[in-house]
């Protein structure tokens, strides 16, 4: 019995300092884009222009250029119309970042999902997704540029 006593103490010691399995907590990857984004606040012209430029060029617009563009918008009565002319001007620049038409036509669903996320910061509803897929498929004249234009001109894009 005396010979077993050290073994007993050794076992007790090991059980005190033995390995303990850590519990690992992880995050599942979840989309944070709601389908029905409740946007209630109107962007300022400066916010609209800065975001528009970032969406089209993946680059920030300088503060000076934002002010220049704001002046133009304030200098014109029909804001929606002058937005359209400004977007037309941006679309004529070389480094505008728009997916190719072939990419859009190859996978209109993914293109629509990406465009909603890029401009409206949300996922489209099933009805919206279906409508755009059909629209792209049934209108061969529609280009990715025209789709981007429509999103940039939409009322929802004026809000955040």
């Amino acid at each position: 019995m005396k010979r077993l006593l050290p073994l007993f103490f050794l076992f007790a010691l090991l059980s005190l300092f033995g390995c303990k399995k850590d519990v690992a907590y992880q995050l599942n990857e979840e989309d944070i884009f709601p389908i029905d984004a409740q946007k209630a606040k109107l962007k300022t012209e400066g916010q609209y222009l800065a975001i528009l430029h970032a969406n089209l060029f993946q680059q920030a617009l300088s503060a000076n250029k934002v002010i220049e563009l704001e002046d133009i918008i304030f200098g014109f009565g029909d804001k929606d119309l002058i937005h359209e002319v400004i977007i037309s001007n941006l679309m004529n620049k070389q480094n505008v970042q728009i997916p190719s038409d072939s990419a859009m036509r190859a996978d209109p669903e993914q293109f629509t999902l990406d465009t909603y996320e890029r401009f409206l910061i949300r996922r489209p509803s099933e009805a919206e997704l279906t409508w755009f897929i059909h629209y792209i498929e049934n209108n061969p004249n529609v280009t990715s540029e025209l789709v981007y234009f429509a999103f940039a001109l939409s009322n929802e894009y004026l809000y955040y």
């Binding site: 220049e68 133009i72 014109f76 009565g77 400004i86 209108n139 939409s154 009322n155 929802e156």
Partner: protein, 438 residues
Amino acid sequence: MAAAGAIAAPYILPSGRLFAASGQQMAQHVVYVLFAGGVRQQESVLQRYLEDAQNKPGLAGNIMYNILNGDPPTQKIAYGTDPQQGTKGSLPIPRLLNDTIENMGMLLPEMRATSAGHYAGLNTLVTGNTATTQGLKQKPVFPTIFEYTRRHLGIPATKSWFVCNTLLNSYPLLNYSEHENYGASYGANLLVPNVVFGSRGEEHLANAKVYHPEEQIAPIYEMKQFLDNTFKSNGSGLIEYGITNTEEERNDIKEFIKSTFEKKRLGQIPFPPVTDNGDLSNIGYAIELMRWFKPTLTVINLSNVDGCHSNFTGYLRSLHRADHGVAHLWKEIQNIPEMKDNTVMIMIPECGRNSDPNPILDENDWYAFDHSDQNSLRIFGAMLGPGVPSGLKLGSESNPVGNIQDGVLTVADILGFKDSVISTGMVNGAAMSWFDRI
């Protein structure tokens, strides 16, 4: 009884207006010049030049000789253009009109403003009311002449324009009011051409891609409409976002913008012979706009004379140029077939300037003037065109006739809906059409 009721009941016209215009039109177009910036009576109608303002006996004369009868000053000429050698401003701008506006139309040489401030004065010029609750940086609280014109004549937005010379001082807010019965739905298209067609516009608008109306623009609008409807159905309505034009009008305006940039590049904008300030370039673009749209109502704002706060010489130069610009405007209107002999032009400053100067001296050691005293309420008015008596002078220095509120009813009278405006009860009770003052 039933018949009487049927006659009196309002009805919706195809144009969307409620009532038929109540009077006969004297002309189909009105050009209303806000001869603004604060024009001192002494250097304008009274033709004192340096005699009063700078206490220089014998140095009187008329520096607005397109508008007013009277000989120009003969000494100390500083209001003209600069010669290559010699005294700055010593070359008066040659007269443009064969006869003066005073002779061709009517002049009210001694009218009264109701405020010594710019924005309050301009508000009164376009609303016919002196709103005591009117704030700066706030749209007019009473309906403007643009809204009256569009609503009571049932005309589209492209027939009503406010051509503003600057973005400063809230002036671009004047194209429609915040009144619940009028507002943006009846507002004027606003254009600040010195910005839109200036260097900023060159960079951000001039190179706009031209899309095909049916093959490209139509799908854009169709997709936009779908997106807008979805947004709306989610309970997110769009707040009022300024004035809107129909699709046809939008295309027309886009064409106008494109064409104007092109004409600017080719040097074909009808600028006045001397165009060396913002007022004159504003007038040049306003003429281009009138050539394109033939508006029923065009309101043009000038304001360079406001430099008088710190530079009396600059003020004289601007006043001389405002006269030159208005003369050029009238000449060019007569070259637009649809508007020739069918346009009445009216001009009224929004306020005058002080009797006594402030202490600021300019390059000629002449004192500057602000606007805050009784002298600042002295203004004049002029009008010419079909139906306007020639050579008529209403009132004098000792017998003031007319006030700043008259402009709206005078425009409404010319275009044939004066009674409709009066019946709204929103024009000041002291206001009268100038035709009723005769």
